[in-house]
Symmetry: C2
Subunit: 238 residues, 2 copies
């Protein structure tokens, strides 16, 4: 469901083509006519109202008024083993909806290297799922996405986080729900088949605590929603 229509800053000065999915949504789903308004936002900028000023033969002329200062910096990042594209799509959309600073999709020993060559990544399709998650969640905030590195590179890029948690069903030393955390936080979730032993060693030597999310074996996208939700609750963001 689209609860907020997002625009990139460079789009604000030009008219919106009638074949743009947002124009179709404005006219057909929201049924807006001239001089009516709807909720809009600028990607990583403020939210506000857009007004349909005029419907031209091939485009919509819109005007905007912005109401807030834009989103605060999110405090959680996620490192995640490359998963099947259909799973990655859900993670992109739902993690964006819940609220996240960065997602690092990494190649791991137990993830299929073919996943990195999916059209999800090679065509830039992944950006569409971020917008979809933000439009659902009524936020303008789009996370940074990294999808071409391995676990070691992602650990290095996210090393400034103050709390580092890796989820592991096999060698966890305790439950995540009893961990105390200080923001910013990076969470590392393995691919569906889990971490390899060298990856566990790398995580431990990089100051990651190995935690579990209970005894149930969850699908990657469900574990991702659960981990992000618990972290946001611990940070008093819910």
């Amino acid at each position: 469901m689209v609860n907020l229509i997002l625009f990139h800053p460079q789009e604000l000065e030009s008219e919106l083509p009638l074949n743009d999915p947002r124009a179709i949504h404005i006219l057909e789903t929201l049924r807006r006519t001239e001089l009516q308004s709807f909720d809009a936002g600028i990607v990583n900028g403020p939210k506000g109202k857009a007004t349909l000023v005029k419907k031209n033969s091939s485009s919509l002329l819109l005007s905007f008024s912005w109401e807030d200062a834009g989103p605060k910096t999110e405090l959680i990042s996620l490192i995640i083993g490359l998963s099947r594209p259909q799973t990655a799509r859900k993670i992109l959309r739902e993690a964006t909806a819940i609220g996240i600073h960065s997602i690092y999709f990494v190649t791991t020993e137990k993830s299929d290297p073919a996943y990195a060559h999916s059209k999800l990544w090679t065509t830039g399709e992944y950006k569409r799922h971020l917008i979809s998650g933000a439009e659902q969640a009524f936020t303008t905030q789009i996370p940074h996405i990294y999808h071409q590195g391995n676990l070691e590179e992602a650990i290095a890029l996210s090393s400034a986080n103050r709390t580092k948690i890796a989820f592991d069903n096999y060698e966890a030393t305790g439950s995540f729900s009893t961990c105390s955390i200080t923001p910013p936080v990076v969470l590392a979730l393995g691919p569906e088949r889990g971490w390899s032993n060298p990856e566990r060693e790398l995580l431990r030597s990089s100051d990651y605590q190995l935690c579990h999310l209970g005894t149930r074996v969850l699908r990657t996208e469900t574990a991702c929603t659960a981990a992000l939700t618990l972290t946001r609750a611990k940070l008093n963001l819910i």
Copy 2:
């Protein structure tokens, strides 16, 4: 992913037909041959090991040894406004995976009454998604499902719960993450378009606290995973 193969009690005495999806999984995915074993469970009973004793021309002869006493009673129930069948499928599967006692899918003022006539419900297809969630999560526990009542009936059927929470984006008095709860717990989540005012009044007069899950507007299945995860963490079940 199937991490545990489930059998109904009445299936244990007969051979498993080769065209049963579980037989295909045992032979083709797990690649088990005669006298090899795999993880198995009885629906709402113990887990243990099954051994492929013999592959006959049209069936598998299995033997079983059970290792635990079966699952404990789950402490959380969910009342949820009937949603699109594709959303309901995810909720059935993921709520079962996370762990839940009962789910009441209810007609509400803002849910489409056609959803109740989906083949998901009329053909019994919904049972398959429960098994799928349990097989993923390595549990034998399958929730009770009610799908023919309205909100009032579900409230009455679940009235013995000690904590009653309804999620509402508009009239919540506080965040769920600050609520203290005593098990057993019933959580009520509206349909995608939310509760009507009479439904809110009914919930309040039935001792439900109206809470929110933060400012982000989540898809129903994501809100469901988030609410169940937070509740399990509060009950020290994670």
